[in-house]
Subunit: 305 residues, 2 copies
């Protein structure tokens, strides 16, 4: 039976057994960077793009997981393969690891590590919400600003996002839209946001994670001849949009049909939203930006069997 | 032989065995609040103050560890007692815990937990630095602002502090001083900062954790007839101070004798700094704000032996 599989401490184990010490800064200082990719039909989407971003995140925090890029590819593929899921999300984490000296608090003096885990492909939003569209609340809690934590360095410092999510739930929303301290749209808990206005696609710029699905939307928009640009956007741009949707690896394109519990446009998923969502999945099925898990699995040397 | 002891999943275990699942938002969203207290000669310092702050942190994140206050006191005392350390630091953590449904990403639908761990009393700075004073670098990386994450809700979202620390090391500093986005002094990685100027004590206000040692300095200053106030302070206030020091539970008062690698005052620990440090420790020895571990240990009912 399929089961989530993790690679930790240089071994493959059931993910339920993969744990981090409460004494490590990996946990006590959330000193860890990560990236999450997805595979459908054993085709990993944008593998090298995710690995490039993961490397950037590691570099930004001076974390050096003890594996080369090709080894990491093999480990990711093996986690997915061993898990038994054809459709999976896999997360790679570069950890600060334990201090070499128990009395030290110096992040330069740690054994950096690598954790990878494969789980079934999942959606941030439940099925009924994905069909009907979600109600997003613009919350008061601000997104951490880039001069403190660079959101492009993908990290688990989610307190602002969790606080935003709890605030949104309190207002009746399905999820939250966080703004920067100066009031510009930033991102939600785990997703980028897009609006369509007068036939153009717009997405916030700056102070956010530049998602891989976001990047894919720029490409898909070009394929269908729609202009897509980054821009400084404000809550009223979202509220006054013709259509809106969120993008995330775990869920792809999700229509936003209400903002602050008020219908957006006609209150149904938009035509451009649906077109982009369909195209995203059909292109992936064709192998777009795809790498087969089986092409990455480390083969036994000939004659070793 | 003394050994760190943890309480996790309702059991006392060697701290080295205490681990958190990589599948829990406790880890993947650093969705956990904490507090750290210290005991010297089995006397816990400001126990109720720490528990009040911990409760505030839990409330702010809607985390409900499944223990009453008196139970928590007993668990803390037992961790310290079982560890065998007369001088200890104990950390309590309220965890978001695992999702009740593996496909959920709803923080309201989790099994909140409690972790407590006792370790030997430690100092953020090594001994030679505590004697000579530390060199603190005012770094460019900003402290997360309170409209995104309230630092008074004590948390592991340390990425800004870790980045600041790495920046300070790169500049030759022993630790970092982070400022707010608008350039005011905030705090360092795990400590508050104080300056003395013309016989008065000043410490930054707002956008920082209001430390227990910081609170104690207000009280000690009053005892010796020195005015101590919170104020908006800037890097040049630190650079132009007569004396400066840091305060933290894990290390108490540490002289700051250089800022940006330039000597502060005469470059030696200041007289007021030394007076406050000595008084802090002598008052603690007298039992000031102290609660005996032995008074908290859950006694066997009479006749049960």
């Amino acid at each position: 039976m399929p089961e989530p599989v993790a690679f930790i401490d240089e071994k493959f184990v059931p993910a339920s057994e993969a744990k981090v010490s409460i004494l490590e800064p990996t946990f006590t200082k959330s000193d860890v960077v990560y990236d999450t990719l997805s595979a459908t039909d054993r085709l990993i989407f944008r593998l090298d793009d995710h690995l490039d971003r993961f490397q950037n995140s590691c570099d930004a925090m001076a974390i050096k997981p003890p594996y080369e890029r090709d080894e990491l590819k093999g480990i990711i593929a093996e986690c997915i393969d061993r898990s038994g899921y054809d459709d999976a999300c896999a997360t790679m984490m570069g950890t600060r690891g334990p201090y070499n000296d128990i009395s030290s608090r110096d992040p330069r003096d740690c054994q950096n590590g690598l954790i990878v885990v494969a789980v079934p492909y999942y959606y941030v939003m439940p099925k009924d919400k994905r069909d009907s569209g979600i109600n997003i609340s613009v919350v008061d809690n601000r997104r951490v600003s880039a001069d403190a934590v660079d959101a492009r360095v993908k990290n688990f410092n989610w307190m602002d996002l969790t606080r935003g999510l709890l605030e949104a739930y309190g207002k009746g929303g399905d999820s939250a839209m966080l703004c920067t301290s100066d009031g510009k749209l930033s991102e939600g808990p785990g997703f980028n946001v897009w609006i369509s206005k007068n036939g153009r696609l717009l997405t916030p710029r700056g102070n956010l994670l530049e998602g891989m699905t976001r990047r894919s939307i720029f490409e898909l928009a070009a394929e269908i001849g729609v202009e897509a640009i980054e821009s400084d956007l404000y809550p009223d741009d979202l509220r006054g949009a013709d259509e809106a949707f969120s993008t995330t690896t775990a869920g792809a394109v999700t229509p936003i049909t209400q903002v602050d519990s008020k219908p957006l446009g006609n209150g149904a998923p938009g035509i451009m939203t649906t077109q982009l969502s369909d195209r995203y999945w059909s292109r992936r099925k064709e192998g777009w930006h795809g790498t087969l898990v089986d092409d990455l699995l480390v083969k036994e040397p000939a004659g070793s069997a």
